[in-house]
Amino acid sequence: MGDPDCVGVAHFNNSIKMTTLLLLSIALYISGTVRDSTTHDPLPYVNVYTILHKSGTSTDLNGFFTLNIDTFPEYIVFSFLGFKPETLLIESENDIRPVTIFLAPKPIKTKPIVVEARRTRFHQEVGTGDITLPLNAIKKTPQLLESDLLRSIQSLPGVTFQVDFTSKFSVQGGSPQENKVLLDGIPLYNPYHLGSFFSVFDMDALRYFRFERAGFGAEYGNALSSVLEAYQKTGRTDRIHISTSLGLLTSKIFLEVPMPRRTSLIIGGRRSYFDILVPRLTDFRFPYYFYDMYGKLEKPLSPSSRIKVAGFLNRDIFRFIDPFQILINWGNSGASIQWEYFKTNKRLNLTAALNKFQTSLNLGGGLIEINSPMRTGLIKTTIDYRTSGWKNTLGFSVEPMHFAYRSSVQGMEFNLKNLTWVVGLYGVAKKQFGTWLVELGARLDGDFLKYKGKTYWSIYPDPRIRLKYFLSDRVAIKGALGRYHQFLAAVVGREREELASFSYWVPLFGKFQPMESYHFVVGAEGLVSFGDWSIEAYLKEITRTYEENPDLDPNNLEETLLVSGHGRAFGADAYIRKDIGSIQGMVSVSLGQAIGWFKDEPVHYLPWDRTFSADLSISTPFLWGTTVTTRWTYGTGTPYTGTVGIFRLMHIGYTGKTEFLRYSYLLSYPYGLRLPPYHRMDISIAKRFSIGKASGTFRLEVINLYNHRNIFIYYWDTSYNPPRLRDVGMLPVLPSLEVSIRW
């Protein structure tokens, strides 16, 4: 099994003197990581337990475990359904050293691996608001043109979207700007392509993701609504693995390359090709394309330490030359280095990262130029350790953020820049007391900056408490309470937020204090023979939030850029999931309300408010070895600001007489009207195939199968009398094809 150089199975000669620890029963801890022997990815929720004294634990999301050993000899078993178990003999104190265990996959037909992981998670995690979906489940679900992580999130309970040609999402009444998106712990502030049509995540490079909604724990700061953390694969070291795919939108390649000294390397990329294909078929020069590139190198330095170096680059390019030159490009680029070290009952993780989000606009060959780079750095350290049954985590992070905005409009220059430091310190302690699982957390976050000769700083303590009470081995009730702050705000108008490809982020200081909300969550969750279920009620009091000021004064940006407001969101979400057997699926429903009020406005619904939504997805084997996945989504209409009256605007015409000029429109209160309900059915048919040593999947997908016209916007056409109500629809029926091959 595994790599003989790693201390996977330690069979030591019994020449080591037995210590008096047996009598004194002083606690010792053995720690290490558990990995998949084929992919080398860390395995979360692996059961780790001692045979003789029946104590146990499980690995965390990074495959790390710490287990208390107080008697010798002892056998430690590593067990996870779908893998061959491994056993480690600890004969004496001298055998206590960091270990890396490799588990070999063993195909299981009756029960999927995810069930075992879920059972462990159910008992180990408090989990208010957190939901996971296996990545292969996301890949099976019908998607628009290709699989996308952020679009898949939209099917989860409590998650809504305003328009279906965007991958942006709102979580339990929160704004899209209040969601934190992380890739291997690195925040991505604009993770979108093509008008937020797609995210920058390539599903082939991901091994796992975690999504936390209301009541998320103290590990995460600088976010108000939710946290989505994606983890990249590790990369195999047995031989080169290649997978490619060709779809209607992009083509992709992903390589896992073994390197010397048990180092793994993954490299991948994708590019859209409408700009190459369309001119060859028509006379039209398609002006837009995007690409992603990423790579990660991971090397074990010793049995107890590991280093990872990763980088990524995303770009969107819009190039329109004739008759008027428009050049726009934007995207992220970044690199990170992580060092992980564990010993006995402690694990240390150090991360350093740099990220740059760049936007540049050039109109008319320099007539208007805008350049706006946002550079962020990150230095983060976390320590996990166990004492007396407590699982503790301490963390510290420093994020320097440099914002710059430079524009030149026909020679008129405008230059704004600022360096802000966001600092966070947190602690989490978790312990089981009988049938109670208690997690106590707290954060201390603050920011510091100098602007125009003045120094600004703020510091906020944020307590976070999460509890779980087990009614039985399969049912628990849970609750969470916490305060949250966010030190950045996206400068985007409310009307455009869902369609913006990217947002300009600004630090909050001076007159604009950090955004703030309070979360209260109660609920219940449970395991059933075929899956799991959860029901949660939440309340979010958003005591401070911001949006772009429509009346901003360019000569006084720091005072007029944003307007402050309040919000409140409450509701309940529920889901039940079946992932045992050949037919799998999930039903989720959400009820909720999100209201807000800004400046002098009356209280109104927020644009992402959906009173009721439901999502049903089913995946089943079908004829000729295909797998058919169907998804149906329903939601009550989102609010919009619409026309409630029309009147004539008059003027004195060139004849000197009173004449009709044009119609003027009287609007409802902000978001005072509702669009009609939204519903859509999507279907995906997938067929696996093999060609020699290669295997692949052929996938046909149809979005909006029955072509229901979901309304994006209404407007009145006053060229008719009486005026006619017109609408712009969202996605019509849209088929797509994708072929992926793996070697």
């Binding site: 009256g645 009147f647 009173t658 005026p723």
Partner: protein, 252 residues
């Protein structure tokens, strides 16, 4: 136990649904456009509905009673159909004076009285050029200041456009009383006769044309006062960009 928890959750959160969320503001039912224009032959008022979207747009409200209350008199307007609009018209006369205040009154059966007040700006004169002068793009347009005027609208139209299709023109809004070059923007479209109109407007009309703001009680629209001065000039020359004149240094 689970049922009790769920009931607790429901009862705990139910009272939160007590914040009233606004839907539609109350808008007036009628729309009135009324200007008192000193210097023209007739005065016009337009009374119309505010329509629900989808309603048929009518010619106006011909059942209204429209009157202007002057300092010593009251002028009643009569309905006329003009270009598919119902306009209420009254002849100009001695009752309309600069720097005087007037009250508009519109009565419509079944609705509240519609009222507004305005003050007509003071009189002024176009000093240069004179009527029937020949001008070019270096000619300055100069007028005296009008008391209580908030802005001036300057419009230039080809005279023969009144016989043909509507002309291309861009009215200029200015607070100055001087246009030092007669070129803003594309005022002249070739050799010919042009009507130059300078209209001193009050703040109410300015806010209406700039921001669609009104000043009428119980109605949308505006009641404003203006003073109109016109003259005809002859322009010799090609399009404005063909002339390379210099800025006039005449002082008035």
């Amino acid at each position: 136990m689970v049922k009790r928890v769920l009931m607790f959750v429901f009862l705990a959160f139910y009272p939160l649904n007590c914040i009233k969320v606004s839907g539609t503001p109350n808008y007036p039912d009628y729309n009135v456009f009324a200007l008192l224009r000193l210097g023209v032959d007739t005065q016009e008022v337009f009374v119309d509905h505010v329509y629900d979207p989808g309603d048929t747009i009518l010619m106006g409200v011909n059942s209204a009673s429209v009157s202007i209350i002057a300092p010593d008199t009251q002028i009643t307007y009569e309905p006329h159909v003009s270009d598919s609009l119902v306009l209420f018209i009254a002849p100009s006369g001695g009752w309309l004076q600069p720097e005087h205040e007037y009250t508009l009154s519109v009565e419509i059966p079944g609705s509240e009285l519609i009222e507004a007040k305005t003050k007509v700006p003071g009189d002024f004169e176009i000093v240069y050029p004179q009527n029937h002068d020949t001008v070019d793009t270096n000619t300055a347009l100069v007028w005296t200041s009008s008391r209580y005027a908030y802005y001036y609208i300057v419009s230039v139209y080809p005279v023969d456009s009144f016989l043909n299709k509507p002309p291309f023109y861009i009215p200029l809004l200015t607070r100055d009383t001087l246009l030092d070059r007669f070129v803003y923007p594309f005022l002249f479209q070739g050799t010919g006769d042009y009507l130059v109109r300078v209209e001193a407007i009050d703040s109410s009309y300015f806010r209406y044309i700039s921001y669609e703001e009104g000043n009428i009680d119980n109605a949308m629209g505006v009641f404003g006062g203006t003073v109109v001065k016109e003259l005809t000039v002859h322009y010799e020359g090609g399009m404005p960009y063909e002339n390379k004149g210099k800025t006039s240094n005449k002082k008035y």
